[in-house]
Symmetry: C4
Subunit: 205 residues, 4 copies
């Protein structure tokens, strides 16, 4: 057990970085070149839901990547449960291009409610995985000694909050899809601020 | 010859990691956004075979990546035959998105038997490649000195078992596709447990 | 604040490299295999706009990757604003395959004007992001001490120039699309020469 | 100038590895799941040209990656011309999935001649780029001191041979496409053996 904990997280970090980088770059494949009778300009403009979905998902994956980076700075080693909890989180990251495409193709249609709810529900699942990963880290004793109890509870509170707010955004989407999306986006601030705080209380590697 | 054996496996490791990370992330591209007359919700639900296929293939590639990692921890260097045996294994990894798509699009149809058999047969081929890679490692004298004969026979036994069970799953798929899939999944436990054992008897790098 | 500045840019560099490498490799997916009644040779030849678009975008992403590399050699550490400014730049990089596909499919049609303008406008946005990133670096005090004021003003001037020339190319595209494209390409020389100069005045890492 | 030559090739190596890994993994996207009236088994069998094309291109990219690795072991540093010559080579690598798809979809049709010729012509271009890259290395004085003149002429001869044989395969394809493909494949032996020889005369890093 002990030797696992002292194994450096560098290779799992590199693998995770690869998955984040690929997922973020695949998003563009979902935007299809406009075809049809109308002129190109109108076609490009008509794709505004695709651009919104692209930018939103790009931003959230970028923020998640930064947070993943900050989280791993708190960790002094990895064990087997960590690898699987991290894998589960990556599964929800690689899944993102799909709800993004669903959102893009339905945001301007009567199906917008379902599309936004599906999009937000993906992040409920992802937020649950962040909690799971953090619980795995804490239970496995993988945190660096310098990480204070305050840091731990800060991170934990933010991760709980994530699940709740994403769930609320999902519910809201069925009534007011635009508000659901805005609530979804509002969490970016939490994740960005969380990263800052985790960082200042952590040591440098 | 000698100098090859002392070459570090780090670059082949990075390349392999890249291939695993890309293959695992490409899986999502096979899930197509639902179109048609029925509402979006029904369309999303009707894609359940795609979600099952996605999760199954994600899990197996993740586990294979972890096992690849563990296997390379037993190795003190690489030679030319290793590079090609490893490349053959990666070929079967990059192939996975295709049988996954075949499975996704046929699991709910009368063609399910063929689709599951094709999916399982892919892993027969992959299991053969694991055996080939391990034989290349052992014959080339690439194992670290600390690796015990017991470790070697543990790994070898598990790899043999993999071929047999995947072959059985392929055969079973023609009769009962669901049971074939479940047998296929049951091997995850073997791979996960194998990793554990290899790890505890290996030294830290 | 201080500890952030001394954090090494290596992980953000690896992530950025991954995004550049993936974006440059995805370009080929936009070229579709010709189908139809005419023979294959004619079909392959008829895709000349795709080849032009592919080569142009490949070249520009390659050059941008080299410049990103050179820029980060001037930097001694990264902070949070840097991560987001860099992320914004990467967003415009991952976006490139889309205007490339638009260009490829419309270069030989009456819509060429709009397609070229859209293509060039993408690089206006990207040039703005380079300015933003550099401003973030300078304001955050992230430059290495050895970087001279002359280097800084060289880079800044080239980045300003980029915005202006790309904007001119966009405007020109509405009148003469071919000239717009050529003006766009002419900037490659600026970026390549910029890299040279930044490099000779920077220290080795 | 001097400081460039002593810069380590590690980052360009990592970027190149990324491009090789992505290109090799994207190949699978070109194999489409069979649809239609006939049963799935017949559909899977009918895709044999896709499997052949997939395996051929996978093998050649793998071998090229290994050779790139070996080539860079001869190099003590990189300069600007190297970066662009290497970029040009990577352009031909990322292009491979396209002729592969063309080959897959036309190998069993009367257009096989054109498809094989197009496929082989891609490797003529790639072989020219290997020559260009090597010339850039030699002229720039980037070779390690330990690399003997014999090694250099070995590599050069093999690279010349590559251009000639690929050109011959292209010409042959118009008459006998199957022989053209076989001649194309026969070069794998040259590349594999070249790697061996370069390796034994190079020093370890």
């Amino acid at each position: 057990m002990f030797e696992r904990m002292t194994e450096s997280p560098s290779r799992v970090e590199a693998f995770s970085d690869g998955v984040f980088a690929i997922a973020i770059t695949l998003l563009i494949l979902e935007i299809r070149v406009p075809h049809g009778d109308h002129d190109l300009w109108a076609g490009l403009v008509a794709l505004w839901p695709s651009y919104i979905a692209f930018v939103m998902s790009f931003a959230v994956i970028l923020i998640m990547w930064i947070n993943h980076h900050e989280l791993l700075r708190l960790v002094r080693g990895v064990n087997y449960p960590f690898l699987f909890a991290n894998g589960l989180l990556l599964l929800t990251v690689t899944f993102v291009p799909y709800p993004t495409a669903v959102l893009a193709q339905n945001l301007a249609t009567p199906d917008a409610k379902v599309a936004v709810a599906f999009y937000c529900a993906t992040f409920v699942a992802q937020a649950v995985c962040w909690n799971l990963l953090f619980a795995t880290i804490v239970r496995g004793g993988l945190l660096r000694q310098e990480v204070t109890a305050e840091s731990v509870s800060n991170v934990r509170r933010a991760y709980y909050l994530g699940v709740l707010v994403y769930a609320a955004a999902t519910a809201l989407a069925f009534v007011r899809p635009v508000l659901g999306l805005l609530l979804n986006i509002s969490l970016w601030v939490v994740w960005i601020r969380l990263g800052y705080r985790a960082e200042s209380s952590a040591v440098r590697r």
